[in-house]
Subunit: 362 residues, 2 copies
């Protein structure tokens, strides 16, 4: 018997690399940029960027904030690093110091840029095609002078519904993009798609694709089987096993009551580690012997512990590792069971330093 | 006009200190220990511990994992640091190196401890009184020899329903605790309550209270007005303002449609910063002029952006700060609106390094 206390997060960089290469092969005419914002969706931007820079010759990265770009620069000295949230007074210094490229999405930010340009840097312009998030609207594009339009190195937009291949918004946004690019930016490269858009075909891939979620194993084309390799595994040790007599309650606010004698295991992981509290009384963990056994989560998930029902799971001992995420129960599965999307799961998951981190392929 | 891009997290350590002192005054006979697990619920364990150690003479801290205790030791050289998840092969070294005190909650862990004791360290024993999470069950206590029982420095348990003052579980657990302590550990100090238990009166306070949530401003006695000071404020700059014509959709999966002409603001914060995605189409942000204006969140929250409806909010400009959390809309409010508890909100909130962190009272 082993006595263990810490949850374990395994990140497989070889699978990130394989996913990147597969996605790249699906968009052979486009530059394959890697999206590593939000610390590579929580999985470790520096690890992911170094891997792709060294082993896949990736030379274009997207981050959300300049602070994130600054961390990448030492690992990717010759890469283009694009900053999606753009540039402002609170970040300009980092652009200068680390040679970052701002994505400019509004006239006010462009005005700021034109007053405080950075020598040798051509920004990206973000145009709005239907998501109604960031980007120049057509009325704003019409006000730009020819000289203003010439200062950009690329034009980009972003799809709203690319994870639904037949959604009318996809064609709507593509036509808007083609029309606006043709009218205002005919001579520079265009970028429309993130990884979900790659699966929509060559029209959507344009000159550069921004590979994020699918690279991390998320099925961004949920209308068909996932082609990506799973990148994330999470396990945590059983701290204790106990019999639960009839009538006993479990966890905060006593939301579970034993109506028959149960056997429970207390597992050393909780919402403080990014396991969504929404899985209380509905989620499941797994134990692997000769086969995979399912144990229902009972009671409320607490900050540091999950309690599960192992009445029908044979041979569980203190110190055994309960499985929270694995190839057979991926981030897509845990997201579905907790009523959110995979992106939110991993972006909360990777952040707690008390995980034992096991990096494969670093 | 200011052009800004980064979200801002303000943490008021003076308010943490005030809350600690108020809670301490409510339990005058008990030692007031500070719970700083999970990086002080995401707000910064090192900052909080240093503040309480230096300015409130706090000499007892609780963490979940030894890794967390290790970070505290340099800041609190003479404090007792208790580790709730206990000790195991994956953490013993840290206990030795940093003089941490394990909380032992199961016979298997006790067996490990007795085989690998640490000289000069007396562990805490955790006993189960009704939460059915960690702790020795009565049948397990009965098997301990008198010598085994004598090795502990304290006996602790944890309440399931202390945030509901009239809940039958409170008396049930108190009576169990008194009975088991009297029978097995009559001569050592006892600890039963976290901050919610403090409000249940002297019986529940025993010899040591473990102050966590309420210290961070959470109302752990929601059956009455919050007596705690708010510790957390979150703001984020408006990156863009746009008119939204009738028929336009907003955000991923086009879940919002404008049925009348709207005006929207795109705010530079998202679930990647810990703002729960569950607030999509239901949450709100605020703008402060001479008074406080409310702007409904529309469409899905994305990793880096929140979109809100400012049609009826006068005078919002690019660069203005939208308010996500403040004294008038606290972590309790945002938790309620997103269908979870305040603890989960702050434990996800504090972790993203792209926040500008403003620490008051450091």
């Amino acid at each position: 018997m082993h006595i263990l206390t810490r949850p374990i997060l395994e990140i497989n960089l070889n699978h990130v690399l394989d996913n990147y290469n597969l996605l790249k092969s699906l968009a052979p005419k486009a530059i394959a940029a890697a999206v590593v914002k939000d610390d590579a969706y929580g999985l470790g931007a520096e690890l992911v960027a170094a891997k792709l820079y060294q082993e896949a010759n990736c030379r274009a990265f997207f981050v959300a904030h300049a602070t994130e770009g600054a961390l990448l620069r030492p690992l990717a000295p010759e890469a283009k690093i694009f900053v999606l949230q753009g540039i402002g007074e609170d970040s300009r210094e980092l652009f200068v110091k680390h040679g970052l490229i701002p994505v400019i999405s509004a006239p006010e930010m462009l005005e700021y840029w034109e007053k405080h340009p950075i020598k040798g840097v051509q920004p990206v312009i973000h145009i709005e095609t239907g998501l109604n998030r960031l980007g120049f609207r057509e009325t704003e594009l019409a006000k730009l002078s020819p000289a203003q339009r010439k200062q950009f190195c690329m034009v980009m937009s972003h799809l709203a519904c690319a994870d639904a291949s037949e959604h009318f918004m996809n064609q709507h946004q593509l036509q808007n993009f083609i029309r606006l690019k043709g009218q205002y930016f005919p001579d520079i490269p265009g970028s429309l798609s993130a990884s979900d858009g790659v699966f929509l075909g060559a029209d959507f891939q344009q000159d550069l694709v921004r590979l994020g979620a699918a690279m991390y194993g998320i099925n961004t084309a949920p209308y068909r089987q996932n082609q990506m390799k799973n990148v994330v595994k999470v396990t945590a040790p059983v701290l204790q096993i106990a019999d639960l007599p009839v009538g006993e309650f479990v966890g905060y606010s006593a939301t579970y009551r034993a109506n028959s004698p149960r056997k429970i295991a207390i597992v050393s992981i909780g919402y403080g580690d990014g396991i969504p509290r929404a899985l209380s009384n509905v989620g499941k963990v797994f134990f692997k012997t000769d086969k995979i056994h399912e144990a229902r989560i009972i009671g409320r998930i607490s900050m540091d512990n999950v309690i599960c029902d192992i009445t029908d799971v044979p041979g569980v001992h203190v110190g055994d590792l309960a499985i929270l995420i694995d190839d057979f129960y991926t981030i897509d599965d845990i997201a579905r069971d907790s009523g959110t999307i995979s992106y939110e799961i991993i972006s909360n998951l990777g952040k707690n330093p008390r995980f034992v981190r096991q990096i494969i392929g670093a």
